[in-house]
Amino acid sequence: MMFDFKTNLGQAQFENPIFTASGCAGSGKELSQFFELSELGAIVTKSIMLKARSGRATPRMAETPSGMLNSIGLQGPGIDQFLELDIPWLRQQSATIVVSIAGESVEDYAVLARKLRSVSGISALEVNISCPNVENRGQVFACQPATARAAIEAVRRNIGGELPIIAKLTPDVTSIADIAEEVVAAGADAIALINTVLGMVIDTNSMRPKLAGKTGGLSGPAIRPIAVRAIYQVHERLPHVKILGMGGVSSGRDAFELILAGASAVSVGTATFGNPTAAIKIKEELREELISHGFDSLREAVGYAHREEARS
């Protein structure tokens, strides 16, 4: 019997569950030197904003034990140039495309959604409401239920009926399941978990914060247990809402762990920085992992770690 690797997030169907993570693959061009982009379940593009943005000053990066801090600050060309150059190129590669958007205001999210509603060849929209690299912590929409709801509602109202919305959340909150419930009520079809965790490194030679932006987002294997916890909690609260899991996945075993917690698809982020072909390796390892555990399909394994609680 053929192993079934297919998955879905809301209405969007994907051939396999391994995606790139937004901000860790650009718009795919650089990685296409190393593998066929169409081999992955989807390419999730770097979160794009309304206007061109320089991002934050350097240094923007500090390696940490089993991880790294980044403080890029959403550098990018803005939505118009992105739609003109990057989307047509990705379509030419036959890549499955998930576009990630980020805004500074609720209105930004509304305008971005309107610009994307008529664009063909996009499978889903990731709405990044949780980038930690902003000057004002109040701009992290996913930190408060009301602002999280407002941003997702703005996208829902403007995107039209078809395109699934994936709301990307931060684990830096008291109850991530409460925020997840709020964004689903506001119209999100799926949840992306987790964005990077806010952190800081102080250079003990200069005795100042190492990053120019002082704080940064922690990623890599160091945060994987946080991702597993967040996915587990949200899947427990909202078992019918699909989850795109991410956070320190660098092997098929790691991806399997997130799937057991409740993820229906898994994004590979920081592992790509260390190894340009990481996502392809992880995809093959995950297939073997699922088969060796006796699963005939990916879907059977989603949330499998919850089964004991369900019985008791």
Binding site: G23, C24, A25, G26, K29, E30, L31, S32, Q33, F34, K46, K51, A52, R53, S54, G55, R56, A57, T58, P59, R60, M61, A62, E63, P65, S66, G67, M68, N70, I72, Q75, G76, P77, G78, W89, E135, A212, G220, P221, S250, T270, A271, T272, F273, G274, N275, P276, T277
Partner: protein
């Protein structure tokens, strides 16, 4: 844009030799056909620490030189300063060990089409890519003067065959343990004048490159430099290694030193912008 790192390959490369030279290690890898494609100024990104290492990022090294010996025999050489956990791990690996290596990466030094008078300036192990560059320039009929500087004699990297590839070599150390006492910038104006230099190529710490650039501008000399900035991926996806560069359209953009560099036109860099985004930069908030 689809030409990004078009010759780059990821391979498991065996260490052929690993020898200590002064404060550094000279390491040779068997890389097959990658050797055919590497140009002076390109770099290599190597995974460090072995499987399950807590060091999740590759380390980038300028390519010292490559030796093309047919389809299987290509060699790639680097010079490593063991100053962090990753580079120290690499210098401890014995011949026969295989490392995960991606190369050639980045933008190489531009080679003039006419024979010119070139001055190559290296700081510490920043001298490494300059010897291969010198050979290419000499092959084009250029005159090549070289200045190497470091804090002390142990940190000058100048192998014998490298010395032979240049018309003149000046060594400068801050403590005077070898050569002229002082900094490379002390001797540059004199050499620029006496050798009537047309172009400066440089590689070394950012502070040194900035000082060289000032002298190049004062003397009306073109300056190509290999820059460095904290880098996570080395292949252009992470956007950490950016620096402000003024384009031909006059716009300042935060460009990636891994892809748009490491070799850039010194006159286009907005120097002294560390820890800031310069006013007028495209997309500045």
């Amino acid at each position: 844009m689809s030409s990004i790192n078009k010759d780059a390959k990821q391979i498991m490369a065996e260490i052929i030799s690993n020898k200590r030279v002064g404060a550094y290690h000279h390491i040779v890898f068997a890389v097959g056909e990658i050797a055919n494609y590497a140009r002076p100024g390109n770099f290599v990104a190597i995974a460090v620490g072995g499987v399950n290492s807590a060091m999740v990022l590759r380390r980038a090294f300028a390519i010292y030189r490559t030796i093309d010996r047919g389809s299987d025999g290509g060699l790639l050489e680097i010079v490593v300063a063991p100053h962090g956990a990753g580079s120290t791990w690499l210098t401890n690996q014995a011949p026969g060990f295989k490392v995960d290596l991606v190369a050639p990466l980045g933008t190489a030094f531009g080679i003039p089409t006419e024979p010119v008078r070139a001055l190559l300036v290296g700081g510490g192990y920043g001298s490494a890519p300059l010897f291969g560059l010198s050979e290419v320039l000499k092959g084009r009929g250029c005159r090549v003067d070289m200045v190497l500087g470091a804090s002390t004699a142990m940190k000058i990297y100048a192998p014998l065959d490298g010395k032979r590839s240049v018309n003149s070599l000046t060594i400068v150390t801050e403590d005077g343990t070898t050569g002229v006492t002082g900094k490379v910038t002390d001797v540059l104006p004199g050499i620029i004048h006496t050798s009537q230099i047309d172009i400066i190529y440089s590689c070394g710490p950012m502070g040194m490159l900035e000082a060289i650039n000032r002298i190049a501008e004062e003397n009306g000399v073109v300056h190509q430099c290999a820059v460095e900035e904290a880098m996570a991926c080395g292949i252009g996806v992470c956007m950490t290694c950016v620096l402000p560069i003024k384009g031909e359209d006059g716009e300042i953009r935060m460009l990636r030193s891994c892809i748009d560099g490491p070799v850039v036109d010194g006159a286009s860099v907005i120097w002294g912008a560390k820890r800031t985004i310069p006013a007028g930069t495209w997309g500045r908030e």
